[in-house]
Symmetry: C2
Subunit: 145 residues, 2 copies
Amino acid sequence: MSGKQLRISELGKRAGVSTKTIRFYEAIGVLPLPARVTNGYRTYSADAVDVLHFVKQAQGLGLTLAEIKEIIAIRRGGRPPCQHVYKLLQEKVVALDRKLRDLIALRDRLQESLAAWRRQPAGKAAVCHHIESPARPRQRRAQGD
Amino acid sequence: MSGKQLRISELGKRAGVSTKTIRFYEAIGVLPLPARVTNGYRTYSADAVDVLHFVKQAQGLGLTLAEIKEIIAIRRGGRPPCQHVYKLLQEKVVALDRKLRDLIALRDRLQESLAAWRRQPAGKAAVCHHIESPARPRQRRAQGD
DNA sequence: CTTGACCTTCCACCATACTGGAAGGAGTAG
DNA sequence: CTACTCCTTCCAGTATGGTGGAAGGTCAAG
């Protein structure tokens, strides 16, 4: 069934992470305590490669290690984590939409700021009007508040 | 000319930041070393409020304290930082566009993942197909779940 | 037996942006 | 005088996701 066991560096190579990272994931509970061979070396089945891939995929999806840990813990508890992951991902989509809106607004603000600069290169501000003006769209207070 | 001098907590109140934060900004060079009154207390002119507002605005625009520090340093050097800030903001816009593209792709991937889940609630994956499938569009080997 | 690769643990550090708290000085009110 | 608030410095910790390195154990080759 299960083929050969991997030592930590071999696992790292296959999953594209450092041995440091593997031990770190283990330390924070993302990875379970692995089996040890007689000399104390960690030993992993090939499944561990998939779990590490999962971690990297999940990180790519914007999940934190804490969330990933939780998913894997549910999985290790025997329950399929999909229900949980579904909710988690739904929340992520909502959060992402919010973040997206903010970022687009920010980008537009910057773009407008740059356009304004091209129209009128000078300005008076405490430090720099590129930053001080766009965030106060209406007239900045004139010196006295 | 300049009105009254502020002590650190008064400055903090006006700018909406804690005294801790003000000292922190000073320590990392974002704020210049302030004047001191005879008893050693920091003393600030009202301009400091504007500088702190600038810092907060710039942070809101996605600049790091290191970048903000640089801008303020240029400004303190007598040169208007606008040229520099212009470049910085241009780079920010480009970086933001990139990030935006990635986030939109991520969001779509999540959304599609959730839609797929609704169509077919089960799946086989090392940990959870919601995460493993969308990033690997073709069928994964049936082993884990 | 020595060398070298690989493994172990543990402690410390990187960046980012702060926050908390201790220990002690300064200034004002009663 | 005490009490209280505000100020000072300095050290440490928060959260996130790791990385670096020391000191020492294990194992196979030469």
